[in-house]
């Protein structure tokens, strides 16, 4: 109930430029036996993940548990064993051109880099060379896309000058253009204040319940996981525990890694 009310309010506030498609629950992403090796050692081993559109799966684990490696494997950035398929359950067809949106922890943009938010978006989304004068149409499109996550005013800012929270929302807007089938989010460990984090979490919640997208998110915020995640994967090289948030966050495997502080009675 609480969720539904929040969404109605959000939709008024956020202008939705890309076509809204309610999650149908029929699209799913299956990852079978994903392993990544470094020499003879496994960094992650035998990971099986199954996510449906409209669901948020949170990946949690200590530092060095292989969370980011898993995400890189999903993106195809590093060699891995196992396979990933995107299926339509209604007709059991495998869909080839799965659109993946990815929000990394940080960018490799150092200070003084003369790339504005406009340049970044236009560079990724259009073929019009970014050394030419801006096009009104493209600017309008980017501005609408940015407004999805309260970033309208950031279009002329340099990417390197954005605060941690602003950068996160801008990257999320970018990852949602065009609307992805699978959204991978690597949450930064630090650099975002509480308000920034709340706004971001809120945006993810809105996205989840209104768009036909499966979300996999590395998170360090257990309150967020408890509130928004549908499934949780506790990772330490391999999947230690998986299930509903309350199941995982109260399991003995979770307590062994994180201690008692997150366990609510």
């Amino acid at each position: 109930m609480e969720n539904e009310m929040m969404d109605a309010k959000d939709l008024k506030r956020y202008k939705i430029p890309f076509k809204k498609r309610k999650p149908c629950g029929l699209h799913c992403v299956k990852m079978n036996d994903i392993s990544v090796r470094s020499g003879d050692d496994y960094i992650i081993k035998d990971i099986n993940v199954h996510v449906h559109c409209g669901q948020l799966t949170a990946v949690i684990g200590r530092n060095g548990a292989g969370k980011s490696t898993l995400m890189k494997a999903m993106l195809g950035l590093i060699p891995h064993e196992g396979n990933i398929e995107f299926k339509d359950i209604s007709n059991k067809k495998i869909i080839d051109n799965m659109k993946i949106g990815y929000v990394p922890q940080t960018l490799a943009v150092e200070k003084d880099t003369p790339v504005s938010v406009y340049d970044m978006f236009a560079g990724f989304l259009t073929n019009r060379p970014i050394f030419l004068p801006q096009s009104k149409k493209i600017r309008q499109m980017i501005s609408e896309q940015l407004s999805l996550f309260e970033g309208e005013g950031l279009i002329d800012k340099k990417v390197c000058d954005l605060s941690g929270g602003e950068l996160q929302r801008v990257l999320l807007s970018l990852a949602c253009a065009p609307a992805p089938d699978l959204l991978l989010l690597d949450e930064p460990v630090s650099g975002i204040d509480t308000t920034g984090r709340e706004r971001f979490n809120h945006a993810i919640g809105m996205l989840k319940s209104n768009y036909d997208v499966a979300i996999i998110m590395i998170s360090h915020d257990m309150d967020f996981v408890r509130k928004y995640a549908d499934n949780v994967i506790l990772l330490d090289k391999t999947i230690l525990k998986t299930g509903k948030p309350e199941e995982v966050l109260e399991s003995k495997e979770f307590v062994e890694i994180f201690g008692e502080k997150y366990v609510y009675v």
Binding site: P114, S116, D156
Partner: protein, 265 residues
């Protein structure tokens, strides 16, 4: 000064080389490749040495082939060892130079090629100008088609990859173009100053540019004006043209550096 043929030719050469370097320099600086391009310059000696061994009539062919091989190899090793990229580039740079000097000193032809160190823009011929013009056209075409993608890779290779951009291929393509430009103009500019000509206009533009349009535009203006200014001063004051151009570019750099502080306040 235009009563002399060599002055007319070198003036045209400057009008081609400086925009060429200004464009290339913007992405070399943004992509943290300044040491890379420096190493490419140093590989010129090895290229010449191989040309001498094969008793080639036109040295630019073995130089170009070796530089492309050298650049691709360096790029590969650098990406395999990202933690030690700086050291690796420096080692390649030293090796590219030392190997050439070893072979040339054995043949006793070392002094014959010492002009490579400083270069001489005044000795350029009209057919050589045509090859530079072809190079400029290639770079402009590359810029129109691939600048956006190159910019995306520099901002975040993982995001670029998730959007289906061939990051490795494009990166190598850019490196090869860079190698070709450096090697084919090293005879006129010299190993010692070629990198300064590549880096300085872009570095100066970076100080005062809020976006890619301004960046490209300022870089072009700074490069062409210091090029023409340097050539005119060199004629009337009887000093070497290349180094004079670098001195002017460096002055522009320091002016923009102080402007940057003013703009911030």
């Amino acid at each position: 000064m235009f009563t002399y043929d060599f002055m007319r030719l070198s003036f045209i050469a400057i009008l081609i080389i400086t925009p060429l370097f200004a464009l290339l320099g913007t992405m070399v600086v943004n992509g943290h490749l300044s040491f890379f391009s420096d190493a490419l310059g140093h590989s010129a000696y090895s290229g010449i040495a191989i040309g001498v061994l094969l008793s080639a009539s036109d040295m630019s062919v073995p130089m170009l082939i070796f530089a492309i091989f050298f650049a691709l190899l360096l790029n590969l090793v650098r990406h395999k060892n990202p933690q030690n990229a700086d050291t690796i580039i420096s080692i390649f740079s030293s090796l590219g130079m030392a190997l050439g000097l070893v072979i040339l000193s054995k043949n006793g032809s070392f002094s014959k090629y010492s002009y490579l160190m400083v270069g001489d823009i005044l000795s350029i011929s009209s057919s050589e100008i045509i090859s530079l013009a072809v190079l400029l056209v290639i770079v402009i075409v590359f810029w129109c088609f691939f600048l956006n993608k190159l910019n995306s890779i520099i901002i975040s290779a993982p995001i670029a990859h998730s959007r289906g951009i061939h990051t490795v291929l494009l990166d190598n393509f850019f490196i090869v173009i860079m190698a070709a430009v450096v090697i084919l103009s090293i005879k006129w500019l010299g190993i010692l100053i070629i990198n300064a000509m590549l880096i300085l206009p872009a570095a100066a533009a970076r100080n005062i540019s809020p976006n890619m349009r301004a960046y490209t535009c300022f870089s072009l203006i700074f490069a062409v004006s210091s090029g023409i200014g340097g050539l005119i001063i060199s004629y009337y004051a009887s000093v070497a043209a290349g180094p004079m151009i670098v001195v002017l570019s460096a002055c522009i750099y320091f002016v923009t550096l102080s402007l940057k502080k003013v703009l911030k306040n």
